[in-house]
C-alpha cells in the first residue's frame, strides 16, 4: 500500500511541477502577482510529494518488502541497515528518485529562502526549475518506476552489488547529486535572467549561495567517490580518468569557473554573458554526465541497467534544455549592456585567465572522454584514452592556472600593478623554493618531476597565506589590531584562502603519488615476509571469518620498522554468496606522510596467497586538500553578505568592510 502511495506521490509531484512551470512563468510574463506567487506553494508541494515518495521507497527497503521489484532486485534481508538505506540510491530507479528529490529541494530553497528576490525573477527561476522537474519526473514515471510490484513476491532479494556496500559509497551519491543537480538552480537563474534581459551585480549576489552550495557538495561528492575507489577497488589508485569520473569532474571545472566569473559580475558588472554561458554549460555537462552513466554508452560500476529507451529519453531532455538555453542565449546575450571596463592586468583579467584555462581544461577532458565513443560510433575502431592522455593535456593547462592563482588575488580591480603584486609575493617564492628543496632532500633518490609540483604548491599556498596576511596588515600594525582586522574580514575571504590552500596541499599529494609510489606483489605463505619503503611486512596468518552477508579470508600482516612494531594490517577477500561475487577489502595504514596499502588475492595454505602492497606517499594530503576546499566552500556559504536578507541595506555595510580590507 505504501508503495502505491509513493507512486501516487510521484504523479502528484509531476502535476505540481507542471503547475510550478506554467503558472509563475505566465504570471511573470503578464506581471500578475497572484499567478507569480503560485510558484512558491507549488515548489514546496512538489518537494514534499517527492520526499514522501522517497520515504516510501526507503521504507520498502528497510522493511525488505520484496513484493516491490526494485527492492527484490537490489536488496537482501541480511544486509546491514545502513546498506539497506543506501541501497535505495544504489540502483537506477531509486537514484533517479533521489535525483528529482534534490532537484525539487533546490526549488524548495528558492521558494522558502528567496524572499528578497524580485518577484518576477523568483517566479521565473521557479518556473524553469519546475520545467526541469517535469522532464525528469516524466522520465522516472514512464521509464523507471521504482514502485513496480512483483507477483508472487520472491522470498528474498538479489542483494546489492557488494562493492557498493560501503560507507564511503553510501554518502557519495547524495553529495554528488547535491552538486550535480545543484547546478540546475544556477541554470534556472541564468535562464530567468536571460528572459528578463537583466543581469547585474545583484543577480550575481543572489545566485552565489546556490552556486557555492552546489560547488561545495560536488567537491565533497567527487572526493568521497575517489576515496571509495581508492580503498574499495583495491587497485591502490585514487583517480583513473575513467569516463564516469570525468563526467562529474567536468561540471566541477566549469562550476569552479562560474563561481569565479560570478565574482566579476558582482563586483564589476562585467563578464555577464560569459557568466551566463558558464551557468548553462555547467548544467549541460551535469545532464551529459547523467546521460553517459545511464544510457549504457559506458560500462562501469556506475552504469546501471542498460536500456536504450532511457538513454534516448535523457538525450531528448538534454537536447531540449540545452538547445533552448543556447537559442535564448544567442538571442539575448548580444543585447546585454557592456559592463565595467578593465585592463588585462587586473583582478578581472586574472579571473578571465582563470576562466579561460578552466574552460580549456574542461575541453580537453571532454575530448578525452568522448573521443572513444565518437570513434567507435563512426569507424567501429575501439580505443581507450587513459591517464597518460590526461596527464599530457590536463596538467600542462593546470600549471599556469596554479601559478596565476597566487598572483590574481594580489591584483587590484580595474587596473592592477603586476610588479607590486610580484613584490608582495616574495613569501610565496620562498615557500615555493623551500618546499621544493625540502622534498627534494627527503626524496633525492626518487624521480624529480614531483618537485615541480611541490614548488608550484608552495608558491600557491604561500601566496594564499600572504594575501590573507596583507589584508590584516600582519606584522605591519600591532598584532592585536591585525586580529581585530581579521575578525572584520568577510568570511568569503577565509573561504577563498582555505580553498586555495586546499588546492596547494592537494597538488603536493597528487604530485608525490604520481611518481613516488612503490609496489610489491609477492606470493606469501604464513610467516613469509617482504620489504617496502623501509617497512618489513610479515604475513602472520590467514583466518576464515563469517560476516552478516558474506564469508571472508582475512590476513594478518605485521608491519615493523627495525625492531619497532608499526601496525597490524588486516586485508580481506570477501565472498558474497547471494551475488556470487568476490571483493577485495584493502587495508590501509595511514600516516600524515604516506599510506601503506595492502590487499590479499587468491590462494590457500599450501600454495600461499598473493599479497599486493603499495607504499603511497602523501595520499592523505589529497583528502586533506579536498577537505579544505569543502571547508572553504562552507565558510564562504556562511558569509552574511550572501544571506538573502535585505540586499540593499547590506551592500553599504559590506562595502565599508571591503574598503577597509582593500586598503591593506
Amino acid at each position: 500500500m505504501i508503495a502505491e502511495l509513493g507512486h501516487f506521490a510521484l504523479i502528484l509531484a509531476l502535476v505540481m511541477a507542471t503547475v510550478q512551470t506554467v503558472v509563475p512563468l505566465l504570471g511573470a510574463h503578464r506581471s500578475n502577482t497572484v499567478l507569480m506567487e503560485i510558484g512558491k506553494p507549488s515548489a514546496i508541494a512538489q518537494f514534499f510529494a517527492i520526499l514522501f515518495a522517497f520515504c516510501a521507497l526507503t521504507n520498502a527497503y528497510i522493511t525488505s518488502d520484496f513484493s516491490v521489484a526494485n527492492v527484490a532486485e537490489n536488496s537482501h534481508s541480511l544486509k546491514p541497515l545502513l546498506y539497506k538505506i543506501s541501497g535505495v540510491w544504489g540502483n537506477h530507479e531509486g537514484s533517479m528518485v533521489l535525483w528529482v528529490l534534490i532537484l525539487a529541494l533546490f526549488g524548495f530553497t528558492v521558494a522558502v529562502f528567496g524572499k528578497n528576490l524580485p518577484p518576477t525573477l523568483r517566479a521565473r527561476v521557479l518556473g524553469i526549475q519546475g520545467s526541469i522537474g517535469v522532464a525528469f519526473l516524466a522520465f522516472v514515471i514512464t521509464t523507471s518506476n521504482p514502485f513496480l510490484r512483483l507477483n508472487p513476491a520472491p522470498l528474498d532479494g538479489r542483494d546489492l552489488n557488494p562493492l557498493l556496500q560501503d560507507p564511503g559509497l553510501a554518502f557519495h551519491p547524495p553529495m554528488l547529486y547535491l552538486g550535480y543537480v545543484g547546478f540546475s538552480i544556477t541554470f534556472s537563474f541564468a535562464i530567468a535572467a536571460l528572459i528578463e534581459g537583466n543581469i547585474g551585480p545583484a543577480w550575481a549576489r543572489w545566485v552565489r549561495p546556490w552556486a557555492l552550495l552546489a560547488w561545495t557538495s560536488l567537491t565533497a561528492g567527487i572526493t568521497l567517490g575517489s576515496w571509495w575507489a581508492y580503498y574499495e577497488l583495491g587497485w591502490g589508485g585514487w583517480w583513473y580518468w575513467d569516463p564516469v569520473e570525468n563526467a562529474s569532474f567536468m561540471p566541477w571545472l566549469v562550476g569552479t569557473a562560474f563561481l569565479h566569473s560570478a565574482i566579476v559580475v558582482e563586483k564589476r558588472d562585467a563578464l555577464k554573458s560569459w557568466t551566463i554561458l558558464l551557468a548553462i554549460l555547467a548544467f549541460t555537462l551535469s545532464l551529459m554526465g547523467t546521460f553517459l552513466v545511464r544510457s549504457g554508452v559506458l560500462t562501469s560500476v556506475h552504469a546501471f541497467a542498460v536500456d536504450p529507451e532511457r538513454g534516448l529519453f535523457i538525450l531528448a531532455i538534454l537536447a531540449f534544455f540545452v538547445g533552448g538555453a543556447f537559442i535564448l542565449f544567442a538571442i539575448r546575450a548580444p543585447k546585454m549592456a557592456l559592463g565595467g571596463l578593465f585592463q588585462p592586468i587586473s583582478r578581472e583579467g586574472g579571473l578571465v585567465m582563470n576562466n579561460l584555462l578552466l574552460s580549456v581544461a574542461t575541453a580537453t577532458v571532454f575530448l578525452g572522454t568522448l573521443y572513444p565513443l565518437f570513434l567507435d560510433a563512426t569507424t567501429g575502431q575501439k580505443v581507450s584514452v587513459g591517464p597518460p592522455f590526461f596527464n599530457a593535456t590536463f596538467i600542462p593547462i593546470m600549471i599556469p592556472l596554479l601559478l596565476l592563482m597566487a598572483i590574481g588575488p594580489m591584483l587590484s580591480w580595474k587596473q592592477g600593478d603586476l610588479a607590486s603584486a610580484m613584490s608582495r609575493l616574495w613569501v610565496a617564492a620562498i615557500c615555493s623554493g623551500g618546499l621544493g628543496i625540502l622534498f627534494w632532500l627527503l626524496n633525492s633518490d626518487k624521480p624529480f618531476t614531483p618537485i615541480i609540483g611541490f614548488a608550484i604548491a608552495g608558491w600557491l599556498g604561500g601566496g594564499a597565506l600572504k594575501e590573507l596576511a596583507d589584508r590584516v596588515l600582519l606584522f605591519r600594525i600591532p598584532l592585536i589590531n591585525s586580529l581585530l582586522r581579521a575578525r572584520g574580514l568577510p568570511r568569503s575571504a577565509y573561504g577563498m584562502t582555505l580553498a586555495h590552500l586546499g588546492i596547494a596541499i592537494f597538488v603536493c599529494g597528487a604530485s608525490a603519488d604520481s611518481a613516488w609510489r612503490s609496489e610489491v606483489v609477492f606470493n606469501a605463505k604464513e610467516k613469509d615476509q617482504t620489504e617496502i619503503a623501509g617497512f618489513n611486512l610479515k604475513l602472520q596468518k590467514v583466518d576464515r571469518l563469517k560476516g552478516p552477508n558474506y564469508e571472508s579470508e582475512r590476513a594478518h600482516i605485521l608491519v615493523t620498522k627495525g625492531s619497532k612494531i608499526i601496525a597490524n594490517l588486516y586485508p580481506e577477500r570477501r565472498f558474497y554468496p547471494v551475488q556470487q561475487m568476490l571483493t577485495t577489502e584493502a587495508t590501509i595504514y595511514s600516516t600524515v606522510m604516506a599510506d601503506l596499502y595492502a590487499t590479499i588475492g587468491e590462494g590457500d595454505k599450501r600454495k600461499g596467497w598473493v599479497l599486493r602492497i603499495w607504499y603511497n606517499p602523501l595520499i592523505p594530503w589529497i583528502w586533506l586538500g579536498c577537505l579544505l576546499m569543502v571547508l572553504g566552500g562552507i565558510i564562504s556559504l556562511t558569509d552574511r553578505r550572501l544571506r538573502i536578507g535585505a540586499p540593499e541595506k547590506r551592500v553599504r555595510n559590506y562595502k565599508t568592510a571591503e574598503l577597509g580590507a582593500e586598503h591593506g
Binding site: 577497488l233 560500462t299 584555462l357 580537453t364 581507450s384 584514452v385 587513459g386 597518460p388 577477500r573 599486493r612
Partner: protein, 147 residues
C-alpha cells in the same frame, strides 16, 4: 583600452589557449591512444606493434597456468576463433576466471602478449563491451542482451 580592443584581446587569448590545448591533445592522442584488438584482429590483420594495446576475449578454458613463484600467470585470450598467449605478473582481479571475459593492457612481444594490467571487472555478469562485440563479430556470441 576600448571595449572592442579588450574584447578582441580576450577572444585572441581564448583562441590561443584553445590552439595550445588542441596541439597538446593531438600530440597526446598520438602517443597515448590505446587501441583495442581481438585475438582474430591480431592474427588476421597481422597486427604487430610494440605500442601499448588492449586485447580482450575469454580466458581460454584449461589455459590458465600459475608459475612456481605463485605470481606469474600464463593464459590464452580467445575469441573462440583464434587465441593469443598472454603472460602477466601480479595479482589477478577477483573475477578473473577461465571462460570469463577479460581485457588486458600491455604489449605484444614475439607473439606473446605481455600484460601490464588486467582490467578489473565489477560483477560476474559484466562482460566488457569490447569483448562482447568481438565475440559477436566472431559469430560466437551466446549470451543474452544483458550487457
Amino acid at each position: 583600452m576600448t571595449p572592442t580592443r579588450r574584447r578582441l584581446t580576450f577572444i585572441g587569448l581564448g583562441f590561443l589557449s584553445l590552439l595550445v590545448a588542441s596541439a597538446l591533445a593531438l600530440t597526446a592522442f598520438e602517443d597515448t591512444l590505446v587501441f583495442f584488438y581481438s585475438p582474430s584482429d591480431i592474427k588476421e590483420k597481422f597486427i604487430n606493434t610494440d605500442k601499448q594495446i588492449r586485447i580482450g576475449g575469454l580466458v581460454k578454458n584449461g589455459s590458465l597456468r600459475k608459475s612456481k613463484d605463485g605470481i606469474t600467470v600464463r593464459f590464452e585470450v580467445t575469441d573462440l576463433n583464434h587465441s593469443i598467449p598472454a603472460i602477466y605478473r601480479g595479482s589477478l582481479p577477483d573475477l578473473f576466471r577461465e571462460n570469463q571475459g577479460v581485457v588486458a593492457e600491455g604489449h605484444l612481444s614475439k607473439g606473446i602478449f605481455r600484460a601490464k594490467t588486467i582490467l578489473a571487472k565489477h560483477d560476474e555478469n559484466y562482460m566488457p563491451k569490447e569483448v562482447a562485440d568481438s565475440l559477436k563479430k566472431a559469430g560466437k556470441w551466446k549470451g543474452g542482451n544483458k550487457n
